[in-house]
């Protein structure tokens, strides 16, 4: 069985040394001193290690079962769910008005990484509730909020998001689910939704479905979509549960991974629904929640990479095969541990340098969300809007790649169920697909986010990189090893941006053929910036003669690896982008 050790030390380092949260001028951050965050992370780490992680292979092996309309989750999930509820983890950053603890979102992410590494399929049950909570909180009427939020914040009720239908995934304009207005102000919802995570299960007392549907007579396409709450059980005026609503689970999807999470076909047979926000403005309501949801998926990607890396490292230290070419390191044993071999090292360093850089990137993103929400800061809002597709797309592509690399470290053992690596690969794979495939993320980035507000956000990003480079160009630790490569990479990103500006109007295919490479180019620059900031923070602690020298030196060494071996990928991405769309679009659809 795979192991899991919560990375609380590294999370503390990122939160305090790299991001300096306790000193940040963001409402609520002043309470996040080192001791407070340490206590929270320790507790979250404990439940992750002791309760969630042991259930991860169980959930994979047993999966969910549907019998007579009832979905049974794997053994132990209900108990774990109750423990998570009792610990208050489900309402960590929720509004105190509805029973939440009101913590900043960054703490939700820092603890969330551990929950996801330990058991991604399990964590999705309350993760989706959080998304539904946030949507209702932002767009629902006072009445809806009062009716639904307290129980959702507490985890007594859970939530779902119902978008996809068989004929429509990305293109939501094709939705057919109908919502007919009733005399009492409610709606009658009829239609079928697919791929609904946590659509039906036995963990919570009620399930609050958020459903996209069309009110007959409304505008065509995406402009005619509205958002509805459809509870599994109707809620009586006194808050107690009433009749079963006409919504049911019609089937469970068999899938590659996240077996512990029930992926449901949901049938709405004239179910009673309640409009959230304005009629026909459902897409807007869904999209305001997207930054957070997509950041959460990016987090899932690197969190799977993180636990996979931990297990690869453990294996590489224990497994004895061959001898160090520079001389035996374990002369009394039959062979040396494989961590002595350069190619095993290369593989481990690829994993480590991604995971730790990604952790910083994701948590930085979370602080931007806090800044945007808690300070109504438009610049932070613009920046996180721009970075969201990068966080989602890059961290899930590379997170998946990291699980594959980790699996490779184990050789044949990596392919067997027993060691658990193959589950991380299968589970991580979905993160590249849901909440918008990574191809869709790249279109969002290039087609929408980049040109938004006249390119204000990307210019702010470049300014940020430029300032950092200028401030640290002469630093003896940062200068040559970090700042020089970061500048080169950032120049590649600018050149790609220029290419899109020049080509975008006259040939959209030229720009869009480069969108995926642009997303990766951007991701590398972000991780390069993160590693430069990490190295600076580590050196500051070393200079202060404070902290774990070995840990801090390893940070700088790992950063050097990223800058030397991973960041240069920006040049390849730029070459591809600049090669344009001709070779991509040359064939007729019939000539493939």
């Amino acid at each position: 069985m795979p192991s899991y050790t919560a990375p609380t030390k590294d999370l503390q380092f990122v939160l305090h040394d790299v991001l300096g949260i306790a000193q940040a001028d963001i409402p609520g951050y002043d309470e996040l001193d080192r001791d407070t965050t340490a206590a929270i992370l320790e507790e979250a780490g404990k439940i992750s290690e002791q309760v969630l992680a042991p259930l991860n292979p169980v959930g994979d092996e047993q999966g969910c079962t549907l019998e007579n309309g009832v979905v049974r989750t794997p053994e132990g999930f209900k108990d774990a769910y109750d423990q998570m509820r009792a610990g208050g983890w489900m309402g960590l950053d929720a509004d105190p008005e509805f029973g939440g603890q009101g913590m900043p979102y960054v703490m939700n992410c820092a603890t969330g990484e551990m929950f996801v590494s330990a058991n991604m399929a399990f964590n999705m049950y309350h993760g989706l509730t959080h998304g539904a909570y946030a949507t209702i909180h932002t767009h629902g009427s006072e009445d809806l909020k009062a009716t639904y939020l307290p129980n959702m914040v507490e985890g007594r009720w859970s939530g779902t998001m119902n978008l996809t239908e068989p004929q429509c995934g990305t293109d939501l304009g094709l939705i057919r689910t109908k919502a007919e207005p009733q005399d009492d102000g409610s709606y009658r919802i009829t239609g079928s939704k697919i791929w609904i995570s946590a659509g039906e299960h036995d963990l919570s007392e009620n399930i609050i479905h958020l459903v996209l549907a069309k009110i007959p007579g409304g505008p065509e396409g995406v402009k005619g979509i509205s958002l509805f709450i459809v509870p599994k059980f109707m809620v009586k005026d006194d808050g107690s549960l009433g009749d079963r609503n006409a919504v049911s689970c019609g089937g469970l999807e068999k899938k590659m991974g996240i077996h512990g999470n029930a992926t449901c076909v949901m049938n709405y047979d004239g179910a009673t629904g309640f409009l959230v926000g304005e009629a026909h403005k459902g897409m807007r309501a869904m999209f305001t929640m997207m930054n957070e949801a997509r950041l959460g998926v990016g987090l899932q990607g690197y969190a799977q990479g993180a636990v996979a890396y931990e297990n690869a490292l453990g294996f590489a230290r224990e497994r004895l095969q061959g001898r160090d070419v520079t001389g035996a390191k374990n002369p009394d044993g039959p062979a040396d541990p494989i961590i002595v071999h350069p190619d095993v090292r290369r593989n481990l360093m690829m994993q480590k340098s991604f995971v730790e850089g990604a952790r910083a990137f994701c948590l930085w993103g979370a602080t931007l969300i806090d800044t945007a929400h808690r300070k109504q800061d438009a610049e932070a809002e613009g920046l996180i809007s721009l970075l969201t597709p990068v966080i989602k797309g890059f961290l899930t592509d590379k997170g998946f790649e990291t699980t594959v690399l980790a699996q490779q470290t184990l050789g044949g053992s990596g392919f067997t169920r027993e060691w658990g690596l193959e589950q991380f690969v299968r589970d991580a794979r979905i993160t590249m697909i849901y909440e918008g495939t990574n191809g869709v993320q790249s279109l969002d980035l290039v087609g929408r986010k980049l040109p938004a507000d006249g390119g204000k956000a990307i210019m702010a990003f470049f300014e940020l990189v430029k300032t950092f480079c200028k401030d640290n160009a002469d630093d003896p630790v940062l200068g040559d090893d970090f700042i020089a490569p970061l500048k080169a990479a950032s120049k590649d990103l600018q050149a790609a941006g220029m290419y899109f500006m020049a080509e975008g109007m006259k040939s959209p295919n030229n720009a869009l053929s480069g969108s995926y490479d642009f997303l990766h180019l951007f991701g590398h620059v972000c991780l390069g910036l993160m590693w430069a900031r990490i190295a600076k923070a580590a050196q500051a602690r070393l200079d202060a003669g404070d902290g774990d020298t070995d840990f801090l030196n390893a940070k700088i060494a790992t950063g050097r690896f990223y800058m030397a071996r991973q960041l240069p990928a920006t040049a390849l991405h730029l070459t591809r982008i600049q090669s344009g769309g001709d070779t991509v679009m040359a064939l007729d659809a019939t000539s493939f």
Copy 2:
């Protein structure tokens, strides 16, 4: 359920137009005219499409079961096996002296691609028999050959390779299985082997295990390993089956993919074995078979990519989502097929340009094996020895990547079992691991193959590329789009070779830290060369006004994509190689 259409047309094009096999001066190739190979490919294609492919999801779903020592294969496997036997496919390239058809190995590969694309787990049963056959054929005594080969060639008996033990995978010097000499000249084999593909099953009447073991008193480490035949049932003098030998299946491995193939723990409890070749020379006997076995795994890698691509393409043509940015292509429908979108195109072209280039590369390798074996050609032997780790490592890494890309084309559907893409991903994953992990391939390449014979083989490869470039530099089709990028890539490969020469002696870690990138750099140059040759062949047919214009033009267009978008990766690999081993090896094993 996924579809499979045998790519007979493209195989014919590669065999005849690109490789010119009918005109090649290799014994046996004169019989391979277009009509003959077409007939063979059609037949192999038919059984692949109609018999093997429908069983692929069945094998994945049912897997193998072990009850009372007996392994049951999935429903339909036995019948398919009998059909493959009846068709003579198992002895296609086997020695006619033992009942084979004596065809060149290249035809074994061309038909094999289809068998593997259709059902990789199934194909391993007779694939392993082929490996065991070849080993006995080359190293066994006349007596052993007469006893075992005819039934193996016919498929009545199957074969296995037993190398791995719990404490030893790559490092075979750690083997513990014992072989004690008996008075009758046989040996008593005792030990346990793991991960034995097709170690026990219900498809054949007898199973012939090839087992690595140590004769007590022999040299230490790999120099004391001998190779033995251990039949499941003893063979009587009249050729009929006798007593059950003391070998049994102790368990089946649960694994990520290839569920239809039984991966066994094999226990040898004083089983009777017969020495193959000389005592203590077992490693040599195994290694002579490695080129072929590893090429076969490279083939598995791209063959999984090929079938995955076919299904991605089919989906992209059918699935309606969104509109072409340059104007609706399906104005009467609710949306355009997703193949109109540039990023979907990019993804499909990545798949297509890899699969078709890999097909040519692998079959070219097979002709080199034929040249080496059938003409005793030392230069061809040297070249294929050098290219083998590249074929194995590059084509499986990229083959797996291609299945992942194809899965991505399907979005959410790619993650579900129903569409079958996720099975291709899971099945392809093993190819990067078995027959030596790809990391081990890269060490073989840089540490052994590159410096062998004073670098004779790599110099021959460079000469070959140089001559091709010189001959075609002024060609209007090839010059700018193919020759120029091929020259640049080849220069990167040379620079990497120079780096290893300069660093290899003084710092082995510097060289070995770059081995994996070198393998990929080399693979790209090979596929670049293949695409230049493919384009040349296509243009020649076009100039002759002969053949399917659309097909031939698509070849040139796909080649241009490879040269513009994939080949430039060589520069990144060179940068990484030249960054040396310092950042890779900086951390203590305890500081990770």
